[in-house]
Symmetry: C2
């Protein structure tokens, strides 16, 4: 049956090559009449179950009615069902990572072979005996052996299972070896997330994350580059830290999955350009100053040990390509998992960090840019700002009449009004967005971003400006609002620049990637005008779309070629040198925007009326206490 | 002029690509009339010398009359001489290593490039800017960059010199970098020899050797394999020792040549199968027992660090292919340098060690085998035997009448008769050959290898047999003669087996490789019948022919393809399973041989008359002293 499937091009799996060991070629014969096809399928059409199948059943179990395709001989017309789990290129559906319809077809594949025993007359070496067995038993031509696999080949003996990657034997195990594993890693500046998968089934066996230990050299990327600029050998230190974390993560994932780390053969990695350079041991400084030179915008394959990861001695790490100086391999991962280049709706992908990485387009054209938002969205440059961590305010509501706030902190589901003992440690990016948007909706902040003097204990003078007291010690200051205005204007202007290039005014869907994208309430983001107008049901968090892209590149070899090709096709726009960027930036300072309309948003919520331009400048400030004394 | 040369296919070198830095494109214009070609060449045919040429002249000197081809523009018909040193693929003649007519065309080449500077608008990474520069300035397509070279690429800046190996940038230096270096190494069981060469000129800058530190685990190969068999982790220890020696040797060679070891980009290695396995970190045990499994009979390229050598971080080590379980990469090196596969005379190449590696044939067919000679030729299994080292007897003459000996020791040119204070430490392989051959010629040893009772103080009873006292404490015993008989019979039988396969009775030339081959007096080898009859003027030591082969593979990329192809074509003969081998072995026990004729030898020297077979067995022994008491 396995031979028939091969001859007919039916997608039926096998690792053991047809000796009844692996169980990958299971099929279900279907008996009965099939008049349409003029076939009558009976039990006599297949030979009886063999002793080998009995042994397999005892060892691993076999669903009733199933047969091993390599053991069942065909004696007559028969109808056979190939279950999904027996298909080599089967599709997996992965909810956590939002991967749908992914075909499992990794770069490395397992093959069980039986070499002809060496005799005194054998005039060829073991490598060529192996190549011959692969030719005879697997119809694979011109296979060579990686020198690093020779030692294992020696130890394995004549009956062994080999891993073949790009026509080269990368690993050898004695006897029959069932599976290999891979790890996909998204290296963020704050957190590093990893996923361990079975490369033969595509099943995810464990996932986990840890903090990027570089964080002690600064929360945002630029402070890490600054550290390298100021400290001799600083890049080596940061590289060692992130590589150590990668290795720890892989160890954790293996432990969780109950496997040895030496069984891991493939690694894929994504990350922003600075993380990309640092985990590869490259100098990140060229990325920190104009012209923001990217060392390479091509994919890279290195030994896993080169990125500090202890795994199989011949494990390879594939790093997705960066796109431009500030648009990294993480964005390439987002594109790969979100697939804007294969669809007709105009999609906007935004990954907010120290820079916002922006991708806009569809199957016809895809544009990418980065906007210098600065780290305000990450809570930096905000008076009470902090990273999104337990204790940080992440949700804010303000009573339109009393101006009294309520809030939630990360790690606690109750609103502050129900839990007066909440002691917030600060406010994170999504919290500051909600706070300013609510203050805007409540009339405390004007469309131009001025904190107005309102008759409330919550509004207090602060030098020549006013602040809003959100909680004990946590205040939204005029400077905070300005920082968010600058950041959001930069983000919007970058997006608008790409819309100009595409000559469009409407975006069909928006995906917000990264941690910020997961936490932010998209409506508030729109109220403040971070993003252009869009049907709110079409604005979603992409979750860890970058990690999902890394998983795709792990499970499917074509996904690697796909993203390499797409990245080459992307039109890279440099915001710094585009005159239109500055104009868009100025217009985008207002909430939600000076000129752009938000029809979809207006259907949902009543935005404060824009004051007549003439009113501007005539608004009177209440003198601050310092000034009046 | 350089452009014209390129267009016309004239072999004119350039590393800097035509900016007047490297001086590789020097030419000599020849002025005058060339009526045959209807050309009149005058000084006006070339532009005047440029300032750049003046700078080059001041910096590096320029022979009078020479011009830099890249600076001289052609204004009219001109005749030009391209000196040998300006030819890319120039031929070198190497006396020490007996390399003739070798074309310098190494696997890695140097190219000076000037990349377009990155700007804010640059949308491609440095790797692709480099690829573009190589396309524009060197017409090289599809060049990629090895990830290990990225860090240097970052540091080098936009004007740099790259090393390209197999279409991949392996190294980058800032600005103009003139040359790279390579080391060829012959890893013998006793000594390790190395040669450091300039890869652009083919010039040998240093050579040297050191003892293989494994020697403390036994002089012969089998004792090293035994050590591994008996000691857990023994292979790792032996690998560490030999790799440490390789690294030391490379350090010595670099120091001698006055270069940094990090400037070494290419390494080539040869060695017998056991050394091959050990320096590659492979388990040698399969080579120590039937069926003598060779892990690979293909060439291997690994990072130099994989064989323990610290050099350029991206240095590669190319290991020539082994031929069979007992016929190693050293023999492949001998074949490469001796080229029997390109010539019509039937050549015999013999490398004597613990096993004799034998190659026989010509351009039509090439056969290889190994014969189990054992280590007697290396001085082992000989009562007073020792390795060829200072103090060892290497030359012996015996007076036909008095049976008095004279001898020479290694490290001293005088005969013992002129220097009675000589205190030999033992006798080495070539010494024992000469001693037995002289004793045979003097009638002390019979054609069947019996030490005869002769009336001389030098012949003394030794148990039931007799010994010959060569010097104080150095005696040639009956057992010694038997050991040499066994060894030489094995060698001869192996050779004869290959002659049978080729169906020939006459060998046109014999080359004796390795240390034994260099020291042995070929006439004595023929008197004892180690080798078949041959015109004595056609029997030569091959010197370090294995090392010469390694040098060829270092300097010329085609030499690598050549030996890989030839090795595949060689017919491997296993002596152990050939019934004829045993018969040849028995016949070859006599001196020089029971049946084979030595017409060439008989022209030179009178061999003792063969005793009638009936005389055998009737020869009377004198009772030993022990027996008589």
């Amino acid at each position: 049956m396995l031979n028939a499937a091969r001859q007919l091009g039916v997608d039926l799996g096998s690792v053991c090559g047809g000796v009844g060991l692996c169980g990958r070629c299971q099929i279900t014969p279907v008996f009965g009449d099939f008049p349409k096809h003029q076939i009558s399928s009976s039990e006599a059409a297949l030979t009886k179950a063999t002793a080998t199948e009995g042994e397999y059943e005892a060892r691993k179990g076999l669903t009733i009615g199933r047969r091993l395709g390599c053991m069942a001989d065909i004696c007559g017309d028969v109808v056979v069902d190939v279950p999904a789990t027996s298909q080599v290129h089967r599709q997996v559906i992965r909810k956590e990572l939002e991967l749908v319809d992914l075909v499992v077809d990794p770069v490395s594949t397992l093959h069980y072979v039986q070499m002809e025993a060496a005799t005194l007359e054998t005039t060829i070496g073991t490598t060529r005996r192996l190549a011959q067995a692969l030719r005879d038993q697997w119809a694979m031509e011109h296979i060579t052996v990686d020198p690093r696999a020779l030692r294992d080949l020696q130890a394995a003996g004549d009956t062994c299972t080999v891993v073949i990657r790009d026509g080269v034997v990368a690993a050898v195990w004695p006897g029959f070896h069932e599976t290999t594993y891979g790890v996909a890693i998204d290296v963020g500046s704050t957190t590093i997330a990893g996923y361990l998968l079975d490369l033969t089934t595509g099943e995810q066996l464990s996932s986990g994350g840890l903090m990027n230990p570089q964080i002690r050299f600064g929360e945002d990327l630029m402070s890490r580059v600054s550290y390298v600029m100021m400290n001799e050998g600083g890049d080596r230190l940061l590289t060692d830290l992130v590589q150590g974390a990668l290795n720890d993560l892989v160890g954790d994932l293996a432990k969780q999955a109950g496997i040895e780390r030496t069984e891991i053969l493939e690694i894929t990695l994504v990350g922003n350009p600075i993380m990309h350079h640092l985990f590869l041991g490259l100098d990140p400084r060229p990325l920190g100053e104009a012209p923001f030179k990217l060392t390479t915008d091509e994919s890279i394959t290195v030994p896993a040990s080169s990125v500090g990861i202890k795994a199989h001695p011949n494990a390879a790490a594939y790093v997705l390509p960066c796109i431009a100086g500030h648009v990294g391999a993480d964005t390439a991962g987002v594109i790969l998992s979100d697939q804007p280049h294969t669809r007709s709706p105009i999609a906007l992908l935004v990954d907010v960090g120290t820079n916002a990485e922006i991708v806009l387009g569809n199957q016809d054209r895809l544009l990418a840019a980065s906007s210098p938002t600065g780290p305000a969205f990450e809570g930096a440059q905000i008076s009470a700002g902090q990273r999104a961590a337990p204790g940080a305010i992440e949700r804010v509501r303000i009573d339109r009449a009393t101006l009294e706030p309520r809030f939630k902190v990360i790690g606690n589901d109750a609103w502050s009004t129900e839990n007066p003992d909440l002691d917030p440690t600060g406010i994170c990016g999504s919290g500051i967005i909600e706070a300013i948007a609510e203050l805007f909706l409540a009339g405390v902040i004007s469309e131009d971003g001025v904190v107005l003097d309102r008759p409330s204990d919550r509004v207090v003078p602060d030098g020549r400006t006013f602040s809003y007291v959100l909680a004990d010690g946590i205040t939204i200051t005029q400077n905070d609002v300005r920082a968010i205005q600058l950041a959001k204007a930069a983000l919007y202007a970058g997006i608008r620049l790409l819309m100009d290039k595409l000559d469009i005014d409407v975006i069909d869907e928006i995906r917000l990637a990264g941690a910020f994208g997961s936490h932010i309430n998209v409506m508030y983001a729109m109220i403040l005008g971070l993003i252009p107008d869009c049907d709110l049901t079409k604005v979603n968090s992409a979750g860890n779309a970058a990690g999902a892209g890394a998983v795709m590149a792990l499970l499917n070899r074509d996904a690697r070629r796909e993203i390499e090709t797409v990245v080459r096709r992307i039109e890279k726009i440099e915001t710094a040198t585009e005159p239109a960027f500055q104009a868009h930036f100025v217009d985008a300072m207002a909430f939600p925007h000076k000129t752009a309309a938000y029809p979809h948003l207006s259907q949902k919520i009543e935005l404060p009326q824009r004051a007549a331009p003439a009113a501007q400048g005539r608004r009177r400030r209440r003198p601050s206490q310092e000034e009046s004394t």
